[in-house]
Amino acid sequence: MTRILVTGADGVLGRAVVRAALQKGVTVRAWTHRPAVSKTSEIQYIDGDIQDVVLADTATKNVEIVLHLAARKRDEPDSHDVNVDGSRILAEAARRNGVSSFIYVSTQSAKLKEQGVYAKTKREGEDAVRSVFPNVTVIRPSLLIGDTIDGLIGTLMSAVALLFTPVFGSGQAIFRPMHIDDLSVALITLALKDESKGKVMDAGGSEEYTFIELLHLLRGVRGSRGKTVKLPVWMGLIIAKVLSHLPHPPITRSNVIGGNEVVPMDVGEFRRLGEVQSRPLAEALRSAWQKTKIGKEPALLLGYIGAKPMPSLVERYSQACRLHNREQAIDTSRFLLPLQDAWTKLYEKNGVLQDKLLIAAAIYEADIHSANALLPRERSLAIVILQSILYGLYGAVMIIACHILFLFPARTRHGV
């Protein structure tokens, strides 16, 4: 008999939870949204939508514990369907099939008065599950940190790179950030205890930060010298509204509201039952940030040069960086890179960024996909001249732009 069903097993937290379970010798059934890419024989896999009644029934058969992680995290049109209805369907199936405990992983923001879509649907999800499965254990984690930086922390990390980081409202909201692996181990530990049943617990790390303190911490990790500026909440709401038309908005209504309201947190019970040993936060953030930069760099630089960052090219790029001792990650972004390139081309010709760009250019050129663009071919002289002028002009614009931007001393300009 399988002991634990983990839903949302292909998410960042889900993968960590499955890992933690296997490490404790607990058998796992993993419900993934998309079919898992690499499967192992230790795990039973199920894939499909969480609202699927038939799948829910299959998934909860012969299972002792359900650890429900699957959710829509961004404010999306089907957030309610997934976070509320999906949870209810799963809970009903769990009860029907005689599951003994049901752990619902919610969010710290479920306690807010002013709730965004995510917080609201997660909160309703708690109730929906409880109405069917009264003995449900609800865990409300604070901010999570993974091996790499993404999600909310990723957005904040980009925000602190700016000259001015806007904070909407007081910025006094309290966070207890926690590493995903620490939470995962705790979740498995407390899931196996009868004592956990029916409890609602705040989950978080040992260190407490206000939103503004958190930004300060991230700034330290990133090595940027920007400042925090307080702006009224309504302004944030307008910005979120405008950005909500983007496919992946960098901030949502929920973020704006969540960063503002002060809700006390009590993580004592969770830390006792989960037997939590948190790692130091700054260190975890630093290593995650390094990893993120290194992880994203090949695709970013290759893409900038003009290459499709296919795995083979990324691998070759990383190998060349290792061989030539250029492993240090570049602090850059898609928008900053052309400016940093123009700047370093003039002032740091033999710096790390130019070296890495040269590596990317060489890797790109020595590949079949660049042949059409780079091999000599018949062109009319007029086109050659016109194209050269265009390249020159675009280059000039970049050079002027980087001077305007980087003459402000606030940003590290060499991209390291």
Binding site: H324, K345, N350, D367, L375, P376
Partner: protein, 518 residues
């Protein structure tokens, strides 16, 4: 075991010193580092450069090196060895500085432990020297003509048929054809200016020769040895290895001792470091100007400086606007296409000469650094301009000047410096060659001044002297003054270097010196 002759070095001089001795039935031991190039240099799909670019997923192995070590992060010249060790030719310099300690003062001198020496990265440009040029080298009154013929027959030289025993020239590409047209129109001007444009002789086959095939014109010569069409001294050594009277010991020679009518040579075996002593009736030093001097100075306990000649050169990027937007010939080769010679030099020889190369297959990534635009634009601008781009490797005739080489506590120390007068002379030659290029319709865009010694052509450490005055010198037959049984057969004996390629002359002269021992 006592050999008739021990030859130190397997490069152009060593290989061709050993060859006549073996043919005459002498027992010969060759001692050299003997590093062999990676297999990939000889494994190449039978495709042209553009076809490889379009179809081969694994093309990077040739262009960037199997280990990706040939991405030129150290600037255009890529540090020591620079462009000539591109692709998979890095092995040519491997371990040399560790096993042959060297101190450089303003001297980017390179040394090699490769089988075939620096010839393993040779561009194959060859020249038959005139009387005046041979006199300049110090080979006055020596008729090298028969030796040139023998070398030419043995290794295969192609080029203009004004010399005996050469194969038809490689086909001039679109760049050179366009320049030739203008040269013929303006011939009077060039004559007046004492400038001359000629097609080069090259150690490249244009007709099959045994196992070696004619150049397939795939424009991959820079990154591989296609069909073994370009001559490498290692080929001669491999041929010698099949002869019973030839032995090879992969080692680094430390010193020799002349005693009781014999020479004892102490060497350190590669890999194990084990010291082995060999004995021979005669010793031929052909380890290159640097290491021949090292061995002699070490053995004779000389710690005074000796002279040193390094052929100076610069690279000029040349834009040939007539070729902008033109795809160019499909079938071509990547080696020297033509020579532009400034004949107005001293002692009746040329002052300098430009070897012209068409850029196409050398890789845009090599030049993007010098285009002052952000990288993606630099790459595309380079692509746009590359059909019209040529590189002129401009070399100057060289005198010993103020350079010196000395041995100090087991380390060779080379110091190079240029007098203001010489600098001026080079500037003048450079201007004249640039002027000639412009007249040919090609515009010098940017000149890269390269460190002294970076051309990898060295000489003059054991110069020919009729009456010995220097601490180290030899007679016209290569016999080291003050030694009975020690000969030099490499460029060490050349007093000065003309600007034109002298590797062919090294081979012809080595053959001459060694034949004196038969």
């Amino acid at each position: 075991m006592e050999y008739d002759v021990i030859v130190i070095g397997s490069g152009p001089a060593g290989a061709h010193a050993a060859l006549p001795l073996i043919e005459a039935g002498k027992s010969v031991l060759m001692i050299d580092g003997g590093k062999v190039g990676p297999q990939i240099l000889r494994e190449l799909p039978p495709l042209r450069y553009d076809e490889i670019r379009r179809t081969r997923e694994d093309q990077w192995k040739w262009f960037l090196g199997e280990d990706l070590s040939s991405i030129p992060l150290g600037g255009l010249e890529g540090g020591l060895g620079g462009g000539m060790t591109s692709g998979n030719r890095k092995y040519v310099l491997e371990d040399a500085d560790q096993l042959l300690p060297i101190e450089r003062h303003n001297a980017q001198v390179i040394q090699s432990l490769a089988l075939g020496g620096l010839g393993a990265a040779w561009g194959a440009a060859s020249a038959f020297f005139s009387r005046a040029q041979l006199d300049f080298l110090g080979l006055s009154e020596i008729d090298l003509e028969p030796w040139y013929s023998r070398i030419s027959e043995s290794i295969g030289i192609s080029g203009p048929s004004d010399r005996p025993a050469v194969q038809p020239p490689l086909p001039a590409d679109h760049h050179v054809r366009a320049m030739q047209k203008r040269y013929n129109t303006d011939r009077a001007w060039f004559q007046e200016q004492n400038l001359k444009m000629v097609l080069p002789h090259s150690a490249v086959l244009t007709t099959d020769k045994g196992e070696r095939k004619k150049n397939p014109l795939r424009d991959m010569d820079y990154f591989s040895d296609p069909e073994q069409s370009v001559y490498r001294p290692a080929m001669t050594v491999e041929h010698l290895l099949q002869r019973p009277n030839f032995q090879f010991h992969a080692a680094v020679v430390r010193r020799f001792e002349e005693r009781a009518g014999l020479v004892k040579i102490e060497s350190e075996t590669m890999g194990t470091g084990e010291t082995v002593t060999h004995t021979a009736k005669h010793l031929i030093l052909a380890a290159g100007a640097v290491n021949t001097a090292r061995i002699l100075l070490q053995s004779k306990g000389i710690d005074t400086p000796v002279s040193f000649v390094g052929k100076p050169h610069v690279f000029t990027a040349v834009l040939h606007p007539a070729l902008l937007g033109k795809k160019g010939d499909d079938d071509r080769f990547s080696l020297c296409q033509a020579l532009l010679i400034d004949e107005q030099g001293e002692e009746g020889i040329e002052a300098g000469s430009a070897q012209l190369y068409s850029y196409r297959s050398m890789g845009l990534f090599r030049i993007v650094r010098s285009i002052p635009l952000p990288m993606p634009l630099a790459l595309r601008t380079a692509a746009l301009l590359s059909p019209a781009l040529m590189v002129a490797d401009i070399r100057f005739s060289a005198l010993p000047g103020k350079n010196s080489l000395r041995m100090h506590e087991g380390t060779v120390s080379i110091s190079m410096s240029v007098s203001d007068e010489e600098k001026k002379q080079r500037q003048k030659t450079l201007r004249r060659i640039h002027q000639g290029l412009r007249k040919l319709g090609a515009f010098p865009a940017r000149t890269l001044t390269l460190p002294e010694g970076s051309s990898s052509h060295y000489a003059g450490t054991v110069p020919i002297e009729d009456v010995p005055k220097l601490p180290l010198s030899c007679d016209k037959n290569g016999q080291v003054h003050g030694s009975e049984r020690i000969f030099v057969a490499d460029a060490s004996m050349f007093v000065k270097l003309p600007s034109l390629p002298h590797t062919l002359t090294i081979m012809a002269n080595a053959r001459r010196v060694a034949s004196g021992l038969i």
